[in-house]
C-alpha cells in the first residue's frame, strides 16, 4: 500500500474522532502529525466518540516521496 494512502487512512481515522488535519512532517527517524480540534458542542463530541473506535494502524511505508517534497506533505484530499 503506498505511503500516502496509509497516511490518508490514519488521518481519516483521527479526523473521525473530532480532529482536523493540519500537517504531516517527516523528521529524522520519526514522523509527526498535527491536528486541531474540530469545533464541536459537547453533545456533538459525545456522539462522535460514541461510535465504534476506528482502527489506528501504525504507518509503515516509504518516506522518499515526502523527503523530495521538502519533508512536508498533506495527504491528497
Amino acid at each position: 500500500m503506498p505511503f500516502s494512502l496509509r497516511l490518508t487512512i490514519q488521518v481519516d481515522a483521527i479526523e473521525a474522532l473530532g480532529f482536523v488535519f493540519l500537517r504531516h512532517q517527516t523528521l529524522c527517524r520519526t514522523h509527526a502529525l498535527a491536528f486541531a480540534t474540530a469545533p464541536m458542542s459537547d453533545e456533538e463530541l459525545a456522539e462522535a466518540l460514541s461510535a465504534p473506535l476506528p482502527e489506528l494502524a501504525l504507518i509503515r511505508g516509504d518516506t522518499s516521496t515526502l523527503m523530495s517534497e521538502g519533508g512536508e506533505s498533506r495527504p491528497s484530499p
Binding site: 520519526t30 480540534t37 464541536m40 466518540l49 489506528l56
Partner: protein
C-alpha cells in the same frame, strides 16, 4: 644489519608493521579524513595517515590484514562522521584507534541491550493484550499487562535513554514549534480562514473568529499535556506550561505525574479542577481526573507505537479529544503525534520491499529485473543469516 645489531644488543626483534594494499590505504585515508573533518584544529591529513597505520598494526595475526583493516576502518569512519567528540580525540592523539574501537563496541552492546528491553517489552504487551479493544474486559487486561512495576521501571529507564537521543529531542522541538506557531504565529488564523472559505463565510468574520483563538493558560501560556513523557522535556520552552504524564515516571523525573492516560477521568464540567492523588512511588502524585478543556495541546511522542492494539491507539486519541474539548469557539486544541516509522530497511521479505518494488516498476521492468532483485535480496538475506546478522541490520 639492523636486525643483527638488535640481536647483538639483546633487543627483541620487532617484525615490521604489516602494509595495507596501496588502494585500500588510500581509500581508508579518504574515508577517515572525511570523518575527521569535523575535528577542531587538527591536521586532518596527518591524523588520517596515523589512523591508517594504527589500523594496519592492530590487525590480529589470524586475520587477513587488508580485510580486517577495511572492515574496522570503515566502521570507525562511519562513527566519526556522527561523533565530533571522538573525531577530536583521535585527531589530537588523546585516544587511539584501539580505544575508539573498544568504545564503539561497548556503545553498540549498550544500544543492543536497550533495543532488547524496548522490543521485549513491546512484544510482551502484544502477547498479553491480544483481545480486541472494545471488549468488556479489555481495560482489565491492559491493567494486568502493565501492572508489573519492575518490568515497567526497566522499560521506563530504557525509554528515558531513548529520550536523550537527538532524533527524539527533534520530535519534542517540532511539537513546541507547532504549538507556538498555531497560537502565536498565525496557524490558527490560517485554519479559521480555510474553514471559512470551505463553508462560504466571509473572510472578515473568519479573521475575527481567528483573532479570538488563544491558549487557556495564565498570561496566554500554552497549556501542554505531554503524555508518556520521559521527564520535563518541554520545560525549556518559553510560553509553554507543560504537564508531564507517564505510566511509570522515572525516579529522577520529579515533576512527572503518574497516569495511565486511558484510565484518566475527564470531567465534562470545565470549571472543575484537576485531581492529583498521592502515589507511594511517585513524588508528584498520580493524576486521576481533569476537567474538559484542561489542556490546549496534547503531545504523544513515541506513545502510539507502544500500544499493541489499533483500537487502543484510537482510544488514546479519543481520550485526547475529550481532554481538549471546549465548546467555546475561542478554544481550539492541538493534538501532536510523533512516532517512529518502519521503512523498507526493516523489511524481512522481498514482498515487503516496497521501495525496491517501486524502483523496479518505474521502468516497467518488473518481470526479469524484479526476479533478479528478488534473487539478490534472498542471497543477501541468506548470507546475513548464515553470518549471524539479522536481515535488517
Amino acid at each position: 644489519m639492523l636486525v643483527l645489531l638488535r640481536q647483538t644488543l639483546g633487543l627483541a626483534v620487532q617484525p615490521p608493521p604489516p602494509q595495507l594494499a596501496a588502494g585500500l590505504s588510500a581509500h581508508l585515508h579518504a574515508r577517515l579524513a572525511v570523518g575527521l573533518a569535523g575535528a577542531s584544529a587538527a591536521d586532518v591529513e596527518t591524523a588520517a595517515d596515523s589512523l591508517v597505520q594504527q589500523l594496519a598494526a592492530l590487525a590480529p595475526p589470524s586475520e587477513n590484514v587488508n580485510e580486517w583493516a577495511r572492515r574496522e576502518g570503515l566502521r570507525v569512519a562511519r562513527v566519526l562522521e556522527q561523533r565530533p567528540d571522538m573525531a577530536d580525540s583521535l585527531a589530537q592523539g588523546s585516544a587511539t584507534v584501539e580505544q575508539a574501537l573498544r568504545q564503539i563496541d561497548e556503545e553498540r552492546e549498550a544500544a543492543s541491550e536497550l533495543f532488547e528491553t524496548i522490543a521485549g517489552h513491546h512484544a510482551r504487551l502484544r502477547d498479553e493484550v491480544s483481545v480486541d479493544w472494545g471488549a468488556d474486559d479489555v481495560s482489565a487486561v491492559w491493567r494486568a499487562a502493565t501492572a508489573e512495576q519492575a518490568a515497567l521501571r526497566t522499560y521506563a529507564e530504557a525509554a528515558a535513554e531513548i529520550g536523550t537521543r537527538e532524533w527524539a529531542k527533534a520530535g519534542i522541538a517540532w511539537c513546541a514549534e507547532q504549538a507556538t506557531h498555531f497560537y502565536r504565529g498565525g496557524g490558527a488564523r490560517r485554519l479559521a480562514l480555510r474553514e471559512a472559505a470551505a463553508s462560504g463565510a466571509d473572510d472578515a468574520a473568519a479573521a475575527a473568529a481567528a483573532a479570538e483563538i488563544r491558549p487557556g493558560g495564565e498570561g496566554g501560556a500554552i497549556r501542554l499535556l505531554d503524555v508518556g513523557a520521559c521527564g520535563s522535556l518541554f520545560a525549556p520552552c518559553e510560553g509553554i506550561e507543560a504537564t508531564a504524564l507517564d505510566l511509570c515516571p522515572q525516579a529522577g523525573a520529579a515533576g512527572t505525574l503518574q497516569c495511565d492516560f486511558l484510565q484518566l477521568e475527564v470531567d465534562a464540567d470545565p470549571t472543575s479542577r484537576r485531581v492529583v492523588a498521592p502515589h507511594p512511588d511517585v513524588r508528584a502524585g498520580a493524576l486521576v481526573r481533569v476537567p474538559a478543556g484542561d489542556a490546549d495541546v496534547v503531545v504523544m511522542s513515541l506513545v502510539l507505537s507502544y500500544l499493541p492494539q489499533p483500537r487502543q491507539r484510537a482510544a488514546m486519541v479519543a481520550q485526547a479529544r475529550r481532554v481538549l474539548q471546549s465548546a467555546s469557539p475561542a478554544r481550539r486544541g492541538l493534538l501532536l503525534l510523533v512516532d517512529t516509522m518502519a521503512i523498507d530497511r526493516k523489511a524481512r521479505k522481498w514482498s515487503e520491499q516496497a521501495n525496491l518494488h517501486r524502483w523496479v516498476d518505474q521502468d516497467g521492468q518488473s518481470g526479469r529485473l524484479g526476479e533478479a532483485v528478488a534473487g539478490l535480496h534472498e542471497l543477501i538475506s541468506s548470507h546475513l543469516k548464515a553470518s549471524g546478522c539479522p536481515p535488517h541490520s
